[in-house]
């Protein structure tokens, strides 16, 4: 090939030379290059070419030709008015698609906004503390003996914090605190003290703590009254939060509250020495009553909190550490290990560890009894759902506006002829999208509050919505921008690309095939997402149903749990309740067979070959326990009434674990418990004692004297709800007679079992809502497209009818294409949904199988919904009299 002029020089020339001069200039340069090439050779010619090109860097060549018809500045008021007018006219003209788009976008934006509020709220927990990065919770790994596993625990033995502060140099500030549960008494002169009930566990926040004064060095509070330096140094001192102070003492000035007396645990008299402001931002530290830790040794509290206890851990005992600036957790690892070696030479081991403050709200491994854990995967799932819903809405917009673009092609043509540039057309269409999005955002702002209150059960407590906060404003702005670009960019490129000469002649000037492919792909995408949601809903629903209906191994209906405050009087109450007519049976127990609370202990069996020792769950109750819950005895008998543990009953799993081939073999064998031997007198069939996430393990049942909770089986045979209520009322009367000072509370066992699946219930609600929204938006898009296609093919349908096509064949014709897409979506969605749901089900020890018919059902549902949506339009189109559609041109 002949040598060509240097390409880079050519490119440079093309980039700077005015377009109207380029041809001649480049031509001349090329001609000169030819001559130079033949006279001087390629090297010299190339150099000269470069030189010549650079020579054209002069004003005349750079200056662009001005046109006689200058484009007005894009956002001149006149053009803006024009854009607004055409936009409004277009929106009004295509009412259906405008409404579909608006509705879809509103739903999408609302979903995004609500989910943003929830996730932002959860993620902002305890992020407001100054030096939050330096604050850690003292946690640990505990091990009961050499063979057992390491358990992460969020709490620590009472003696550890003080020892750590002394023995680990450079650890900074350590503050230990202990949650206590107590009612509060405020002395009221000579009259009876004012009483505030203790919190209801799991419902209300933990508020009372006994704490080291260093707590206020780690967490910064604003002091409203009292001296922060001395407020908690002495015994019997108390710091209250402002809200709590007013609750206890009414609306008096804070200074007057200082020095007043408050009584905890009926006997611990403390005096208010300080008042701090409550935190306004989300926090897990919900404490409002801070009792000085010096009080422990000086009062009744020492019976409950043993400060020198090393080898037992209670969830009420907590400690926080504020490391010095620049210190890292890793530098303490070896010191912690040494600490553990020194203090735990025996079986029980405890190794301290540090948990970052930011981890507190999310890590379920470290339990405590005040923080509320947020499930991080659920939050991420939520964000994904929000994104997908917005995406589906944007896809609707893209589909409908590209489908209708041919109708706006004339406008584009005219605008171009009148001198509009492509850039300004793109901006115009994007602006239109932004306008629509803005309306959607405004509508969703109105919707957010009602939605938040409607979904209170799945939103975190304390979540409020403030339109005028900076973050919300920023988020809304981001959403408007993102949605406008997502939904509007592609259509605006398509619309602005039309060639005016073609569009004005009545052709669309577009390759029809490409457009339709994109639209089809997007519909497939939409339906894939919808189908994944549908399949998810079906499987979650099936699993929940399975958990509700599966035989638990015991009866849980019409059983009421009551927790008397003392064991002795509890027996009196039990006796009273037994005499009521509506009560079938009353059992005294530790806990019901199934629930959040359970206890595991170590049992030993001297087997034939070697002793078998293992952790066994204890179900403690009197002789009424097994008959009340109707646990099925597969061998032997129930244990008989006694004052202490004499005989035990085990479950089938334990019998199997001990190596008995037949259940009868287990009878009259002896089990070693705390050094004493007890005979097995019966074997019960396995029953669930924890949620379905856990496998059924070995269990033993027996009676121990310190059981004090009551389980009451109400007789329901032939009784109406009102009679049950009457029975409950008479139980309450008995309670009042026995415990006049305590509030009567009861729970139905069914409810507390259902509470085990709270998270799953929330997931289910969430998936249901997401499915509903996704399907709704997708179908509206489909509806819009079907309407459009039917409209476009009016003539074709008319001709077909004239030539003898039946209504059915035309409906088939119009529906076929869409249904094909739904089927493809099903094929794509099935494996994805299968994988996702398998992951979800992995958490359950007892679960449903994912069966093929679930996918088939989802497919049928989707096809049905799609068909239903399309049929509106296709039947309407097929029924039109061809005379009408063919008459007008």
């Amino acid at each position: 090939m002949k040598p060509q002029p240097p390409a880079w020089a050519d490119r440079l020339l093309e980039s700077f030379c005015a377009p109207h001069l380029l041809e001649e200039v480049q031509g001349d340069l090329h001609e000169r290059f030819e001559r130079d090439l033949s006279l001087l050779g390629s090297g010299q010619a190339n150099r000269r070419y470069w030189f010549n090109v650079l020579g054209f860097l002069r004003p005349f060549a750079l200056k662009r030709k001005s046109t006689d018809y200058p484009t007005p500045f894009l956002i001149s008021p006149i053009m803006l008015r024009n854009y607004l007018k055409t936009s409004l006219r277009n929106l009004v003209k295509h009412k259906a698609s405008t409404l579909i788009n608006l509705f879809g976008l509103t739903l999408g934006v609302t979903a995004c906004l609500v989910i943003y509020l929830i996730t932002y709220y959860e993620l902002s927990y305890d992020t407001f503390h100054p030096d939050a990065q330096q604050i850690y919770r003292l946690v640990g790994q505990s091990q009961y003996d050499k063979k057992s596993e390491l358990h992460p625990v969020g709490f620590i033995p009472h003696a550890v914090p003080a020892a750590l502060q002394k023995e680990v140099p450079g650890i900074g500030t350590v503050a230990a605190f202990h949650n206590i549960e107590s009612q509060v008494l405020i002395p009221n002169g000579t009259e009876k003290p004012i009483k505030f009930e203790g919190r209801r566990h799991g419902v209300e926040n933990a508020e009372i703590v006994v704490t080291d004064p260093t707590y206020f060095d780690i967490f910064s509070y604003k002091w409203l009254a009292g001296n922060p330096k001395t407020a908690l140094n002495e015994p019997f001192q108390l710091v209250l939060s402002e809200r709590k102070a007013h609750k206890y003492f009414g609306d008096v000035p804070l200074d007057q509250i200082l020095g007043k007396e408050v009584i905890y645990m009926d006997s611990v008299h403390v005096h208010v020495t300080g008042i701090v402001k409550d935190w306004a931002l989300p926090s897990d530290f919900t404490f409002t009553d801070f009792i000085s830790s010096a009080t422990i040794q000086a009062s009744q509290l020492k019976k409950e909190i043993h400060l020198d206890q090393w080898d037992d851990i209670w969830s009420a005992s907590q400690a926080f550490v504020k490391l010095p600036k620049g210190a890292t957790t890793t530098q303490f690892t070896t010191q912690f290990l040494r600490f553990s070696k020194v203090h735990y030479p025996k079986e029980f081991k405890f190794t301290p560890d540090l948990q970052p403050l930011s981890d507190l709200h999310f890590n379920p491994d470290y339990q405590d009894n005040y923080s509320r854990k947020a499930h991080l995967p659920t939050l991420y799932g939520l964000m994904g759902v929000a994104g997908f819903i917005l995406l589906i809405a944007a896809i609707n917009f893209i589909n409908l506006s590209t489908a209708q673009s041919s109708q706006r092609a004339k406008e584009t043509g005219i605008r171009k002829v009148m001198g509009s540039s492509r850039a300004s057309l793109i901006v115009q269409f994007l602006g239109e999208t932004a306008f629509l999005t803005l309306i959607a955002v405004l509508v969703s702002l109105l919707l957010v509050n009602p939605i938040l209150s409607a979904f209170q059960s799945i939103t975190p407590k304390g979540l409020t919505f403030n339109v005028f906060s900076a973050q919300t404003g920023l988020f809304l702005l981001a959403i408007i921008l993102a949605t406008s670009l997502l939904a509007g960019l592609y259509p605006s490129f398509i619309l602005s690309s039309y060639v005016p000469a073609l569009t004005l002649k009545g052709q669309t000037g577009m390759v029809a095939g490409r457009k339709a492919t994109l639209r089809k792909t997007l519909i497939i995408f939409q339906f894939t997402i919808s189908l994944i949601f549908i399949i998810g809903t079906l499987i979650v629903e099936r699993q929940l149903r399975f958990m509700r209906t599966k035989e638990l191994g015991f009866r849980s209906d019409a059983i009421v749990s009551i927790r008397p405050p003392s064991a002795e009087k509890g027996k009196v109450l039990a006796q009273k309740i037994r005499q009521l007519s509506g009560v079938e049976r009353v059992a005294i127990e530790w806990f019901p067979p199934m629930g959040e609370a359970y206890m595991v202990t170590k049992l030993k069996y001297e087997g034939k070959k070697q002793p078998i020792e293992m952790d066994v769950s204890a179900k403690i109750g009197d002789e009424n326990f097994i008959p009340l819950y109707q646990l099925r005895l597969v061998a032997g008998r129930n244990y008989i009434k006694s004052d202490s543990l004499k005989e035990i009953v085990i479950n089938a799993s334990y019998a199997k674990a001990l190596g008995f081939k037949r259940y009868d073999d287990a009878l009259n064998q002896f089990i070693d418990f705390q050094g004493k031997k007890y005979p097995i007198v019966g074997v019960v069939a396995d029953f669930h004692e924890q949620s379905f996430h856990e496998k059924i393990g070995p269990v033993f049942l027996g009676y121990m004297p310190h059981a004090r909770n009551l389980s009451v089986k109400l007789s329901t045979k032939g009784k109406a709800m009102s009679e049950l209520k009457a029975t409950l009322a008479s139980i309450e009367q008995d309670w009042k007679a026995v415990f006049p000072d305590n509030r009567f509370e009861y729970t139905f066992l069914d409810d507390s079992i259902a509470r085990l699946y709270e998270k799953e219930q929330k997931t289910s609600q969430l998936v249901n809502t997401a499915t509903g929204i996704a399907i709704l938006i997708s179908c509206m898009g489909l509806f819009g497209l079907a309407m459009f296609t039917a409209e476009q093919r009016t003539k074709e349908i008319g001709v077909r009818k004239v030539l003898g096509a039946s209504v059915a064949s035309i409906v088939t014709l119009l529906s076929k294409d869409f249904l094909k897409l739904v089927v493809i979506a099903l094929i794509i969605a099935s494996p994805i949904a299968w994988w996702v749901m398998t992951q979800w089900l992995k958490d359950f020890a007892y679960k449903v199988e994912i069966e093929w018919w679930v996918f088939a059902l989802a497919g049928i549902l989707a096809v049905g919904i799609a068909l239903f949506t399309i049929s509106f339009q296709s039947i309407k189109a097929a029924l039109v009299n061809p005379v009408k559609s063919l008459r007008s041109e």
């Binding site: 001649e24 030819e34 020579g55």
Partner: protein, 112 residues
């Protein structure tokens, strides 16, 4: 008499366009200038001059044929307008008039 000012280079270019008659375009003019006057000028300088002359109305142009050596690009062919012709004539007349006014011995003799 008020006339459009024409620089010396412009005048030479304008004359060269007239010399080349119907086939005056960038490269040809550059070459012709080189041949006739021995002045080696860059193409860009010639283009700039042509552009200016066109703006002044002394030249008019149209796009000509494309040739292979230009990679299929067309040439812009220039022709002198009436105004250009008039200006050239004016300049020449003034020169002649001045030459005629010089007395025979006023200029020092130069030997060739």
């Amino acid at each position: 008499m008020k006339r459009t000012y024409l620089g010396e280079f412009e005048e030479v270019v304008l004359l060269t366009v007239a010399v080349l008659h119907e086939s005056a375009y960038g490269v040809a003019i550059t070459d012709e200038l080189d041949r006739q006057t021995g002045r080696s000028v860059s193409i860009s300088a010639v283009h700039a001059a042509l552009h200016r002359l066109e703006e002044k109305g002394m030249l008019t142009s149209h796009m000509g044929d494309s040739t292979a050596e230009r990679g299929g690009r067309r040439k812009r062919l220039f022709t002198v307008t009436a105004l250009g012709s008039r200006t050239l004539h004016d300049i020449r007349a003034i020169r002649d008039q001045l030459w005629n006014a010089i007395s025979p011995n006023a200029l020092p003799a130069i030997s060739i």
